[in-house]
Symmetry: C2
Subunit: 199 residues, 2 copies
DNA sequence: GTCTATAAAGCGATAGAC
DNA sequence: GTCTATCGCTTTATAGAC
């Protein structure tokens, strides 16, 4: 008979604070105290909402995964041409980064580096990989690529290359060679056209 | 008048232990205790050789940077053809990984993600970036590329893509699309030939 | 140069009141 | 559901003997 669950504010503030700090300073380097201070929440409240720091990390990755997927869905809904739909992953990540004010690299790549094998956040990293490989493959099939898995793997390589360049360049502000994502998209377009042309 | 400094064993054992643990478990997640236990060294001895954990991290990165540069030098000494010399970075990293028994991604990429802005190890990450961009550019010039900086940036993108794929795949054992480094080399070869052909 | 023992701080997590 | 106060462990780092 509860009218509305409605217990939002503290949990959301915690996720916001944790998300910012995890992304900015790294997961292992971010203490629970810092998250609590930024969120303006007491320790007991946090442990009422999440199963410890690991649970908060997992929730952060889930939230980020879902936001990323929504952004990609959004961009896909704006594209009709099969080639443009294949390249949409680059436009989507550009939009995702603009929204989040992302200055560093990919949050999932960083988490993949930091989290130990059995961590409860790992499944969301796998979900991210699955989304990328699966969706790129499907789009390649629809576009009529001769070897969809091969084309998807190539696009994924370029995607990873651009994002890891951001991670390295966080220190050295002046990225040489212009925007890595723009370069990756250009190369991806070449590869897509070549793969469709000779199929 | 000291005949030989010769104070090696403890310091080297510490670097070996730290290198293995930092690479395997991450820098922030690796405690000093674990390093001391693996090296069989007491805390006081470590602090006599290094300025704290940060100093040890910096020394680890310096050692890794120098080993990587030596490996690349070695491979370059075996190549005469300008195109092969440009692609040598992919062969060198393959050899480097075989030697170190590397299963995870790039140690420098991981460190770039983990280390805060003012960390004493940062200069070695910059040195690594400098080595890659500078040397690739020089090789592109020698090969006669019309836009050496552009070609170098493209090769770097592919290089980063392959290495970050390893980082993500550490969890998911079955990497789709075959070996990322082989794929990156193949794409790089295409780009090099195209860049030299139309110059 | 290397050890044993310990200090000092930070961390994740919990108890109990409201 | 949220707070204040605190526990207990781990971590980095140092003191002092050999």
């Amino acid at each position: 008979m509860t009218p509305v669950p409605a217990s939002r504010p503290a949990r959301e503030r915690l996720l916001d604070a944790a998300g910012g700090l995890f992304y900015e300073s790294g997961i292992a380097a971010t203490g629970v105290d810092a998250i609590l201070a930024r969120a303006g929440v007491s320790p007991a409240t946090m442990y009422a909402h999440f199963a410890g720091k690991d649970g908060l990390v997992a929730a952060y990755l889930q939230q980020r995964h879902e936001a990323w997927q929504r952004t990609w869905d959004e961009v896909l809904a704006e594209r009709d041409d099969p080639v443009e739909r294949l390249l949409s992953v680059f436009d989507a990540v550009t939009r995702f980064r603009e929204r989040g004010g992302n200055r560093r690299g990919c949050g999932f790549l960083a988490a993949a580096t930091e989290l130990p094998p059995g961590h409860p956040g790992r499944p969301w990293l796998d979900a991210d990989s699955q989304l990328l490989t699966g969706r790129l493959r499907d789009l390649a099939v629809t576009a009529g690529a001769g070897d969809p898995d091969d084309l998807a793997a190539t696009l994924l390589l370029l995607y990873d290359g651009a994002l890891s360049r951001y991670a390295r360049g966080a220190t050295t502000p002046g990225l040489p060679g212009g925007d890595p994502l723009a370069r990756a998209r250009r190369l991806a377009r070449e590869q897509v056209l070549a793969a469709l042309g000779q199929s």
